[in-house]
């Protein structure tokens, strides 16, 4: 009991929220816990409330957006209303969905842009330089250090946005569609960075539509539909849940293929969520052998 309590870093109890001008509740009676150090993905179609949920987790609701918030949001054993927004900003790093709006607009180089947050925290100059250099290297954007942030491509901005949050070294990273503008190699690279952050013990909360990557990296899934959590649990269990199909959310490609085969009478050993699992899950080897009987 003591252990579960210690390991929970975010807890929501019966949380509902309505934006100031909204007639309906945007988030409806949501409850979940997120364990420290876990990688949780929030999935659901656009307009289902994913970004709103992120804004609640990082305290932007209720500290910045007003409206009605009911229920309890607890971050690191303290109710979110008891924090100052600045304290939460140090604890929770948030990477925006749209990299075109995250860039501050007040700095002339990528280096200064990434240093901006640390300057605001009053970190000593030499330490800022060291930390920024380390992050530019980690994110592989050293070649952009002297470029103007406004001149970068969408994919480059997305990486700068990620760098300027990671450099702050928050315990929790809330990341909203970090790879929408990136090519496949860039996307994989961002996911590798996120995994690195997880290995450092960070708690990761990610909103993303690329289900193949979620299947590969996420420990747990929260599925949201019209403001309600409709499914949650370990990644494989959620994708394998027969109810998942009715929410019209993308499956990992391999899962879609396997479930279609199952519908056509093929027995699955288990529901595959990664490409490599396909041959085993449909007992492919034995199919091949019996073809030569």
């Amino acid at each position: 009991m003591e252990d579960t309590y210690m390991n929970t870093i975010i807890e929501m109890k019966n949380v509902s929220y309505r934006y100031p001008v909204s007639d309906d509740w945007n988030i409806k009676n949501v409850s979940f816990t997120i364990e420290k150090g876990k990688f949780t993905a929030i999935i659901g179609n656009n307009g289902s409330g994913k970004t709103t949920l992120c804004n609640i987790i990082r305290g932007f609701i209720p500290h910045f957006y007003k409206g009605n918030l009911e229920g309890d949001v607890i971050v690191d054993n303290k109710r979110i209303v008891e924090y100052q927004l600045g304290q939460l900003g140090e604890k929770i790093g948030y990477v925006f969905q749209n990299p075109f709006i995250q860039v501050s607009g007040v700095k002339d180089t990528v280096f200064d842009e990434v240093a901006y947050g640390l300057e605001n925290l009053g970190v000593e100059e030499n330490e800022i330089i060291d930390r920024v250099n380390e992050i530019l290297k980690l994110i592989e954007i050293e070649h952009l250090r002297e470029k103007h942030p406004m001149e970068l491509s969408g994919g480059q901005r997305q990486r700068v946005a990620l760098a300027s949050i990671i450099v702050m070294n928050p315990d929790i990273l809330v990341i909203d569609e970090p790879t929408s503008q990136l090519d496949p190699i860039g996307t994989e690279h961002v996911f590798n960075i996120i995994r690195l952050m997880k290995d450092k013990g960070k708690t990761i909360i990610l909103v993303e539509h690329k289900m193949d990557l979620i299947a590969e990296y996420a420990d747990n899934l929260i599925v949201i539909q019209e403001g309600e959590i409709v499914l949650q649990g370990p990644t494989r269990d959620v994708f394998a849940d027969s109810r998942f199909g009715k929410y019209n959310i993308q499956y990992p490609h391999v899962t879609e293929v396997a479930l279609n085969l199952q519908k056509n009478g093929v027995t699955l050993k288990y529901v595959p969520i990664r490409d490599e699992e396909l041959p085993e899950s449909i007992s492919w080897a034995s199919v091949g052998e019996s073809a030569y009987d």
């Binding site: 179609n45 749209n98 491509s153 480059q156 090519d183 860039g186 490609h253 391999v254 293929v257 279609n260």
Partner: protein, 273 residues
């Protein structure tokens, strides 16, 4: 009908950055074409040359009978509509319907044609029910459809989509699929820049691969995604279906889920007999 041609085109930005070198491409009227390649390969520069936003430093770009260097961007964009990668670079009205009708109005179409085109484009893009909303109250993915509708409403022969699937969910992908069919029926040329290989294999037969500021391959998807040399040079990854087919030891050329499923069902059925 408008054919697009780029002949030995190079482009250097004013600061000296070379973005394209000796690129040659012909896109016949009514064709559907996907341009793929890493960030920085020159894809966006290439399409900006096609609609006259940029003029070639060397070589020629022709849109139908026009050399783009002899016409203004405003003139060329009547023939070649370009949907920006970032919707917020494009949207400037506080109401969806006003945003969509700006283009056709500005082109001097009569009011009946303006309203027909506006309604057609909003319905096709699934935004008819939010026509009175402020675009900035809509999610990013829906704003992207607002920008697509604004370009479609101009009724240009050629439509360029820059990263249409970015941030789209299943609902948005289904909408794009319907939209491509409708444009094909109308005889429009559609050129899409995309990183989404599933989108490419599902909807495009001709693929242009760019790397290092030029075209390194121009072929159908079976030849692109089963050619390791091209994949390596362009640093592209094959679509998930190709990866699965490879893991199962299936023959080359399988790219869509339907192809994969029909092969697998057949083999499993054979085992049953």
């Amino acid at each position: 009908m408008t054919e697009l041609q780029l002949k030995n085109v190079s482009f250097t930005y004013p600061d000296g950055t070379k973005a394209l070198e000796n690129l040659t491409l012909t896109v016949p009227a009514g064709q559907r074409l996907a341009i793929i390649g890493q960030n920085g390969a020159g894809k966006t520069t290439a399409v900006k040359l096609m609609n006259g936003l940029l003029k070639p430093t060397e070589g020629e770009v022709t849109v139908g009978e026009w050399h783009t260097k002899d016409y203004t961007t405003a003139q060329v964009s009547r023939k070649v509509g370009y949907v920006f990668q970032n919707p917020d670079d494009q949207i400037f009205h506080n109401n969806v319907a006003l945003e969509v009708q700006f283009g056709p109005k500005n082109m001097g179409f009569d009011s009946e044609r303006v309203s027909l085109l506006t309604d057609w484009a909003m319905k096709l893009c699934g935004i008819y029910h939010v026509s009175h909303e402020n675009p900035y109250n809509l999610p990013y993915s829906v704003r992207k459809f607002v920008t697509i509708a604004s370009v479609l409403a101009m009724d240009s022969d050629v439509i360029i989509l820059d990263e249409p699937t970015a941030g789209q969910d299943r609902v948005g992908l289904d909408l794009l699929s319907k939209l491509l069919d409708e444009l094909e029926k109308k005889g429009k040329t559609v050129i899409a820049i995309t990183h989404d290989m599933e989108f490419v294999t599902d909807y495009f037969s001709r693929i242009v691969v760019m790397a290092n500021r030029t075209i390194i391959a121009d072929d159908d998807s079976e030849h692109i995604f089963y050619n390791p040399a091209i994949l390596e040079e362009s640093m592209l990854k094959p679509p998930a279906v190709a990866k699965m087919a490879n893991l199962l030891g299936l023959e080359k050329g399988i790219l869509t889920k339907d192809q994969l499923l029909s092969v697998l069902k057949e083999r499993v059925l054979m085992r049953g007999r």
